[in-house]
């Protein structure tokens, strides 16, 4: 899925996977069970297989990506975050990853609930609609923002549920989901801890990466 395709703000990384994926990978403990939702061509799964020896699975909406993943020996199914997560049992995975996809789901709240249900931890990255350039575009020009991390015109975007980092944190609070760790990436791909200054992160982060845990029963 990975619906935010272009990542020019992050393009200057020299590693073999995107900076945000690297950040995600660093969180994951070796030999854990991982589900990557919207795994695209399987770059993160392959990286995790190699570096962390995980038991990795993927879900991908696009059949081309699925076929490429399976042909590369990755365990990936064709599926949809909105409809297919309900099938999985509780605690099926140590980590469930949803990278740059939540904003493209029909029911983000339900998807989020499923993520923390089927995973002991969920790792979610989202584009930040509260970034200053977005605010600038709307406030000054009165136009919807189009930039590196939000490359689509309003009439063709798959991103139908935008939020700012603050909005996302508010939703987690509302669902009693614990934010274990959170980072924001600035447009140069540099990570900053959100909790050191949430308002600053919401202004300067082009995307946020959150490690979440479901509320204790």
């Amino acid at each position: 899925m990975n619906v935010v395709s272009g990542q020019p703000g992050l393009a200057n990384n020299r590693t073999d996977i995107r900076v945000d994926l690297k950040l995600v990978a660093d969180i994951i403990k070796p030999s854990s069970r991982v589900l990557d939702i919207g795994c695209g061509d399987g770059a993160l799964l392959a990286h995790l297989n190699q570096t962390k020896q995980v038991d990795g699975r993927g879900i991908e909406l696009g059949m081309d990506g699925v076929n490429a993943c399976v042909a590369a020996g990755l365990s990936v199914i064709q599926g949809d975050a909105d409809t297919d997560l309900a099938d999985y049992p509780d605690n099926a995975f140590d980590y469930v990853i949803l990278s740059q996809t939540l904003q493209a789901t029909r029911a983000p709240r339900e998807v989020l609930g499923n993520l923390v249900r089927i995973g002991r931890h969920a790792i979610i990255s989202i584009p930040n609609f509260g970034h200053w350039r977005v605010r600038w575009d709307i406030a000054l020009h009165g136009r919807m923002p189009i930039n590196g991390s939000l490359p689509y015109q309003w009439y063709e975007t798959p991103n139908i549920h935008f939020c700012s980092l603050l909005d996302f944190i508010a939703l987690c609070d509302d669902m009693s989901i614990e934010v274990e760790r959170s980072f924001a990436l600035d447009r140069h791909g540099r990570a900053m801890r959100v909790h050191s200054s949430v308002r600053s992160a919401n202004l300067f982060g082009v995307e946020g990466v959150f490690l979440l845990r479901r509320p204790a029963d």
Binding site: M63, N67, G73, P89
Partner: protein
């Protein structure tokens, strides 16, 4: 392992075949789902490649309704190339340089494994309809007994399309500890009303043929060729997509410029179906067709597990690769997705791919490079995992 006796299924007898056969069930009989015990039954099988020292590179290929054990070699009766010669072989997706491939003729079949055309030792007459009704699970039990005989504890993979895919699912469900990876292709976890309906049509065609003689055609020296041919024709319609039939035949006429205002095969599609029917009866036994289609109709993996398919795969260690074809309406992608959802609910390790093809159910037997690529990639990935878990595959 004697070569088979000089008979032919068209005469209602086992054919004269090269290949392996073994008599099983001598010490402990095969207990069938229907309650009957089969002792001293024969399994005919072919192998390709070499079993490695660790005995962990065996791949069981399961054939479909009218297939047989001659996967990757010329068919002994028709002379046509093996039915999966494009997939099984040196350097192919199921690489015989790497894997030890086994294919058995299924229980109830007519190519050397015990079936209704064989002689019932108790009566010294062909079994015919006194042969017990068998199930997919019975076929798999017989295969498991063959593996015991071959001293193969665990399969690297079990792979099959259509009925073969049902066997792959049954294997994974009944013997999860004996299967490392399973690839059910163009298949379903149960037979739908539509599936059963088409099979019933074929069976009724056979039984309506006066030469069928209540199933005892062998004693009469006859074969119900017309009925079996019609059954085959109906089958062939279900194996094609409408697009494929239109592309192949359209409304084109067969060797004529005008309609004849009669009931000859005016249209190419009629001629094709008649040809398929008439060649099929040369290599297949009518009663075997009844028994095998019945086994497929009875297949319902969830039913044994309180109607919950996921329970058939609870805590399964098997790696699955479910493959469907976009234009297959006989065992559609929806059916494969049902299997995948159940496997997800069991938190199983599963890959699922729908291959885009307009060739209908038959796609799994045809030249579909994307299918080959996915199958080969899945097996490579699984082999890597097995090597990590239990030592190299050599």
């Amino acid at each position: 392992m004697d070569s088979l006796k000089n008979r032919s299924p068209a005469n209602g007898d086992s054919p004269n075949l090269s290949g392996n056969q073994v008599v099983l069930g001598c010490e402990s009989p095969l207990v069938l789902d229907c309650g009957t015990e089969l002792s001293e039954f024969t399994v005919a099988y072919q192998t390709y490649g070499t079993l490695n020292a660790l005995r962990n590179n065996a791949v069981l290929v399961c054939h479909a309704l009218t297939g047989d054990q001659f996967v990757a070699e010329a068919h002994p009766i028709t002379g046509r190339p093996g039915w999966w010669g494009n997939i099984v072989g040196s350097g192919k997706a199921i690489d015989t340089e790497r894997y030890f491939v086994i294919c058995t003729n299924i229980l109830g079949g007519c190519m050397g494994t015990t079936g209704p055309q064989d002689i019932n030792p108790r009566t010294a007459k062909p079994w015919a309809l006194s042969f017990p009704v068998i199930t997919i699970r019975d076929m798999v039990r017989a295969q498991a007994m063959l593996l015991d005989h071959l001293e193969i504890e665990r399969l690297f993979a079990v792979i099959g399309g259509s009925l073969g895919g049902m066997q792959a699912l049954e294997w994974a469900s009944s013997y999860p500890e004996r299967v490392f990876a399973a690839v059910p292709i163009a298949t379903a976890a149960h037979h739908s009303a539509q599936n059963i309906a088409f099979h019933e049509l074929g069976r009724q065609a056979i039984m309506a043929d006066p030469d069928w003689h209540g199933g005892n055609y062998q004693l009469e020296g006859l074969t119900p060729k017309r009925g079996l041919a019609v059954a085959r024709m109906a089958g062939h319609i279900t194996y094609h997509s409408e697009t494929a039939l239109t592309r192949k035949f359209g409304r084109r006429l067969q060797d004529r410029d005008n309609l004849t205002y009669g009931f000859d095969a005016d249209f190419q599609v009629e001629s094709y179906l008649r040809h398929q029917g008439s060649t099929f009866v040369e290599r297949f036994d009518a009663n075997a067709y009844l028994y095998i289609t019945r086994a497929m109709d009875y297949f319902d993996l969830a039913a044994r597990h309180g109607g919950v398919l996921a329970e058939a795969f609870r805590d399964t260690p098997v790696r699955f690769c479910v493959i469907s074809f976009s234009s297959d309406w006989l065992y559609s992608t929806v059916e494969s997705r049902t299997v995948v959802r159940a496997l997800n609910a069991a938190a199983a390790n599963v890959s699922f791919v729908e291959i885009t093809s307009d060739q209908g159910h038959d796609s799994f037997l045809l030249d579909e490079p994307e299918f080959f690529r996915v199958l080969s990639g899945f097996l490579n990935g699984a082999a890597e995992r097995l090597a990590m878990a239990s030592g190299a595959m050599r």
